[in-house]
């Protein structure tokens, strides 16, 4: 390595600084996605419009209604139209759920300690419907408990590591994986393809610089940017969204560096396949971004995928990186727990580097 790679590094930073699209991908996109996942795509539902049809109108039925209005999840309104027409509430989007309390509610409850109410839920969005049903069950359980009714067994749902089911806990690690992949694989492969396309690559290759020096000079700026970006996301996640860091910060950063190395080597491999920016972009999207998004466990759990996709997920670097980062952040894993993941990433990175340096000379 010589001091001659400095001009390349400096030049690459100028390209980044002057290219609006690159700046957006590096700075605006991660923060935008973080806040989008953090706020807009909140898995917790509040203020569900619940319309109550109380045909009983007794102290007991009013106690039940109070139980619902006491929950932060529900906004109650009372309906006094015809029961046969409650369906129109859904059409008008006036309600997301309707609670029907039958006329014999208090009597039955007094006589048998047991009765039923009917809950109609707008099922047009099945996830939302599922959530509403869960919240309603919770309210009913509390109601029963307050009345001293004990169920034959305890239903208790305990979510380990993320008791409040905060969506940011799930998304932040995936987001780090996605952004690092985007900068390292997509931006570098496009940057190299651009130099081939404009002919400047040929111009530097004819200089006394060795190909390895050229590549190193080109990727160092992206390593720096990717690492800073990862750090930025993690800091915002930790201090703004209060995602915990239960394990070692160094272990997590070490994992991130290793993952950047893998993503960069993948980017180099892509750049040896692509002679122009369009192709590089397409290949990078298909070979690195999509698998990171769809097959790594970022959004869909690997365990519930069809067998073939599970196999593919094993060659997606993000699959291992997610285990590292989720393990360290949320579970407090130590190196012992995740060294297999480190080994898998290191093996992939070495393999990609080997293939791409072999191919790099041939294609230029």
């Amino acid at each position: 390595m010589s001091h001659r790679i400095l001009p390349i590094i400096r030049k690459e930073f100028i390209h980044i600084r002057r290219d609006f699209r690159t700046l957006i991908i590096i700075f605006a996109l991660p923060i935008f996605m973080l806040f989008m996942f953090g706020y807009a795509i909140n898995l917790e539902l509040q203020h569900i419009a619940l319309t109550v049809v109380d045909d009983n109108n007794s102290p007991d039925s009013r106690a039940l209604i109070r139980a619902f209005s006491g929950s932060k999840h529900f906004n109650i309104s009372v309906y006094d139209g015809k029961v046969s027409e409650v369906g129109s509430l859904f059409h008008q989007r006036a309600a997301m759920a309707v609670l029907l309390i039958p006329h014999d509610f208090a009597e039955e409850l007094g006589a048998h300690q047991k009765t039923s109410v009917q809950l109609l839920i707008d099922g047009s969005d099945s996830n939302t419907a599922q959530l509403i049903s869960n919240y309603a069950n919770a309210v009913l359980q509390n109601f029963n408990a307050d009345r001293g009714v004990t169920l034959p067994f305890d239903v208790s749902l305990a979510i380990e590591y993320n008791p409040a089911l905060k969506s940011t806990y799930f998304f932040v690690p995936g987001l780090v994986a996605l952004i690092l992949m985007m900068i390292s694989a997509l931006l570098t492969s496009v940057a190299i393809a651009r130099e081939k396309e404009t002919g400047t690559m040929e111009q530097i290759l004819v200089s006394p610089l060795r190909p390895a020096e050229i590549i190193l000079g080109k990727v160092i700026p992206y390593i720096v940017m990717a690492f800073l970006d990862g750090l930025l996301i993690l800091l915002v996640a930790h201090f703004w969204f209060e995602v915990p860091l239960r394990g070692s910060a160094w272990l997590m950063l070490g994992g991130a560096l290793l993952y950047i190395f893998v993503a960069l080597s993948l980017g180099l491999l892509i750049s040896t396949l692509a002679q122009n920016q369009q192709v590089a972009m397409m290949v990078a999207l298909i070979a690195s971004m999509l698998p990171t998004l769809m097959l790594s466990g970022f959004i869909f759990p690997v365990n519930s995928m069809p067998f073939l996709l599970q196999l593919i997920s094993k060659i997606v670097p993000a699959t291992y990186f997610l285990k590292i980062i989720r393990g360290v952040m949320l579970k407090g894993n130590t190196f012992e727990h995740i060294r297999l993941m480190f080994a898998a990433l290191a093996a992939m990175g070495l393999f990609f580097t080997f293939v791409s340096t072999k191919r790099f000379k041939m294609t230029l």
Binding site: K11, R18, T198, Q203, S207
Partner: protein, 241 residues
Amino acid sequence: MPDFAVFTENLGKFFGGFQAVKNLNLAVEYGEIFGFLGANGAGKTTAIRMLCGLLMPSSGSGAVAGFDIFKQGEKIKRHIGYMSQKFSLYEDLTIEENIEFYGGVYGLARPQLLAKRQDLLQDLGLSQQASTLTHDLPLGYKQRLALGCALLHDPKIVFLDEPTGGVDPEARRNFWNLIHAMAEQGKTVFVTTHYMDEAEYCNRVSIMYQGEIIALDRPEALKKQYGQTSMQDVFIHLVDR
């Protein structure tokens, strides 16, 4: 091996089963302006790339500045300047940033680089526009700037692949003045072109056709040999027969 700037013996290049360059035999003297002519796809760029160490030849042998093109590519690179037929400047860098980049890549020391930068900007008459983006320069200026960047390390031999493509006659004349000035400084200039009038300015020219050299001599000698009045006619006579 005799002392030539460029010397090849039966140099050839295959791309798969297709032979782009066949048995190239050249002996270019130091200080010569050597015109490398040929129609589209004749194999000129391929030949130049082999001489500059960008492509491994498939057969034959060759030397540039006395160094073997198979084994001493690194040494050759220090002694040659090259301007590729595609454009070779960074459009999103300013004029001075381009100069500094290429100077840096060739390992010029800082004071030397600054002096060169000043000279080049002055020669181009661009001292006031040093921090303009290269993108905004007229093509003729870009080509002269690209040449300047290729010459920062003061190479003995300069390969120019279609340096005047697409510019107006005035800019071409300016460019050829630079080429002559280089030759007067003792540099060897190896230049390809599509413009036959430019061939007249060369000391010697070769005409390449489908990977082979079909004629090689001084322009006057070629005109005389084929009974034509211009290089344009010589070229048409040779290629169309």
